[in-house]
């Protein structure tokens, strides 16, 4: 499956190992860099770095989605769910464990979960092992109903006990109290696990079905995060996650830091905030570059060629002995893991997990705009799209407000229309993203940096 309906490959770039980062890509990256630098001069460097950090995270998400879509043509619209799982990992890894809650009902909750999982496994085993017939249906029903009752008996009491422990500040089991950096790979693992379950059921069916299934699972993951207070406090949010970088306050109290700030003539408060953001950016850049390097290696490897062969013609690829379903599952899990990792990084950056902020438009469909605009099937393209679209997403709002101020300049102060237009300017960004997506899809379907 290819992005472009009229995909005509240039004859000159027939070699699979052709450089994907060429002059055009360099130019475009330079332009996006100019946008960021311009923001620094026009607004403030602090803003630039804030946008840049989320841009880095977005670029990693786009890289993951590009792996699924660009490499294998899998249409995943459940990105939000994987991002949220990464966020959950950040909480589970980094927050200190709540001893009282564990003593009150922690083991009971875990036992309940194990029982629930065992029920499902038993039902699946019964389905696969028993001979087809009425007995099998009956056995499965008995296992499922009995298991469910047992699970609720054990689980509900445990949850109630855990959530009763100081609900205003904790009321959950807490995490492992480990450094939050560890959450990044763990987030990837969690997302990979979820992707395995989805992939096992929905891959191999038609592309639309995978889309609906992923859309559904992402909504469910958010519902779980919002309602299971024992897990991550639900809508009460977990705040104050530990950081992998120093705190501004500590920096401002540090003699050497103050001396350094003084020497370059910077305001210590602003400078400390910029230093923190730069440290995050440095960590994210390391992850991003590693992932790009790995993705490029994979893309140019026999494995990458096989994936593209499968994408472009599943029938002939399977005729050549390639296991299409297994490869799809593999790349689906890989891509989701990268997205989950990005999700953990984002929660680390925010220092809090707020399940209410996970919106499909922002976390699923915006990432899709990044991939399509940047250039599906090109890792550098996806990364470029991540930076560019994130910058636009942030900057369209002030631009929209400016535009509206221009339009409404002639109206009287208390005109209803004027206030309405000014208030609604924020929604311009949705409109703009839609227009950009449609324009790129129509006039440059292969994206800004096309696949080589």
């Amino acid at each position: 499956m290819s992005t472009a309906p009229d995909q005509t490959r240039p004859a000159t770039s027939g070699l699979p190992a052709a450089q994907s980062f060429d002059r055009r890509a360099a130019l475009l990256f330079a332009l996006v860099a100019l946008l960021f630098i311009g923001t620094g001069f026009m607004q403030s460097w602090n803003t630039t770095l804030t946008i840049l950090n989320m841009g880095l995270v977005s670029a990693i998400m786009a890289l993951g989605v590009n792996m699924q879509w660009g490499y294998a043509g899998l249409f995943n619209v459940g990105i939000m769910g994987f991002v949220a799982l990464g966020g959950l990992a950040a909480v589970l890894v980094s927050m200190p464990p709540v001893g009282e809650a564990w003593a009150a009902g922690g083991l009971r909750v875990l036992l309940g979960l194990v029982l629930g999982a065992a029920t499902i496994v038993a039902a699946i085993l019964a389905y696969m092992r028993l001979p087809v017939g009425r007995m099998r249906t009956l056995a499965m029903l008995v296992i499922l109903v009995g298991g469910f009752i047992l699970y609720r008996r054990v689980f509900d009491a445990g949850v109630a006990a855990v959530e009763a422990i100081d609900p205003a500040t904790t009321g959950y089991l807490g995490g492992l109290g480990l450094p939050i950096i560890l959450a990044w790979p763990v987030g990837g693992l969690l997302a990979a696990g979820a992707a395995w379950i989805i992939g096992k059921t929905a891959l191999g069916l038609r592309s639309d079905y995978l889309a609906i299934a992923t859309l559904g699972i992402s909504e469910i993951i958010i519902a779980v995060l919002k309602n299971e207070d024992w897990l991550a406090r639900g809508v009460k949010n977990v705040t104050g996650l530990p950081r992998p970088v120093p705190y501004e306050i500590d920096l401002q109290a540090n003699e050497r830091f103050l001396a350094f700030a003084d020497r370059i003539g910077a305001d210590p408060v602003t400078f400390s905030s910029i230093t923190v953001k730069l440290s995050y950016a440095a960590l994210f850049v390391v992850v991003l570059l590693t992932l790009i390097w790995l993705s490029e290696k994979a893309w140019n490897s026999p494995w990458g060629r096989m994936m593209r062969a499968i994408r472009d013609n599943e029938v002939s690829a399977s005729a050549m002995g390639k296991d299409v379903k297994a490869r799809h599952l593999q790349v689906f899990i890989l891509g989701s893991a990268i997205v989950g990792m990005a999700g953990a990084m984002m929660t680390t950056l925010d220092s809090q997990l707020v399940p209410g902020t996970y919106q499909p438009l922002r976390f699923t469909f915006l990432v899709w705009v990044m991939v399509i605009v940047g250039g599906s099937g090109n890792n550098w393209g996806a990364v470029l799209g991540g930076f560019l679209i994130w910058w636009l997403w942030i900057q369209v709002e002030p631009l929209g407000t400016l535009l509206m101020q221009g339009i409404t300049a002639g109206m009287s102060e208390d005109a209803w229309l004027r206030n309405h237009l000014l208030d609604s300017a924020a929604y311009m960004r949705l409109f703009t993203m839609g227009v950009i997506l449609l324009l790129v899809l129509r006039f440059s379907p292969r994206g800004l940096i096309p696949e080589r």
Partner: protein, 337 residues
Amino acid sequence: MDFLNAFVALLNFVIIPATAYGAQLALGALGVTLIYGILRFSNFAHGDTMAFGTMVVILCTWGLQALGMDGIGPLPTALLALPVGIAATGLLVIGTDRAVYRFYRTQKAKPVIYVIASLGVMFIMNGIVRFIIGVDDQRFGDGERFIISARTFREMTGLEEGLAFRTSQGLTIAVAVIAVVLLFWFLNRTRTGKSMRAFSDNEDLALLSGINPERVVMITWLIVAALATTAGVLYGLDKSFKPFTYFQLLLPIFAAAIVGGLGNPVGAILGGFVIAFSEVGVTYAFRKVVTYLAPGGWEPEGLLQLLSTDYKFAVSFGILLIVLLFRPTGIMKGKSV
């Protein structure tokens, strides 16, 4: 008596709400399934099409209410505004088709390209709706609130349990029946409807027998606009209008269409009710009903609720998954491209 009370409670909290909700989902799923049958892609902008149509209806209703209207007799004013909403939505979707989808039709693009294009359309419609009416809850119902209120029912029957039958629920069911009858009459009896079905069954053969594809597509969009607006207005009257909720309706609607068999109108209706009844049934606390039925001393301790209402998406999703695993073409046989 207890048995009657249990039945009334079940009727009041499960059967009536689920029937109304099922009718709303069925109308939505019919729209999705028609687009799938004729244009052969899953339209992700359908929820936002519903939101747009409902928004136009709400604005008109407010206008009429400002002129002093308070319902058409017992019925809500919104019914009078419905044709305007349908017309506006029809113009919007046909405009969208001209500007976006037609290009890909001439290119014979793959279905997934249409789906991505529909994501773009979704963003735009989302932006328009939020720009015009904002993100908040809007209520626009008026007229008589109840056909039977819980109090009158109790006085009438002398039962302990009350039964409330809201006008919006009765209206939903009545309008849905009329819409479905009209749709099936159109598809099965008129020449245009037959050409639509022919086009859906076999495009090449339909082209060969001189059916104009552009006309079929245009009529499909018009019908979809009518169905989507009606579904959206009924849902809004029954619950309330909030753009984000309409976007989220996409999941149960898709589930209904797929469960019933994509491309199959009868299946879409069936799927709508399957999803609605499971969603309401699984998230309803059956304690009250069981308490009436259980012999003395056997009253249940817990709420007897299988899942909390926040997990209603999980229900649509679970059914969807089961159907996909065991019967990928849906209950009624749908298309599988």
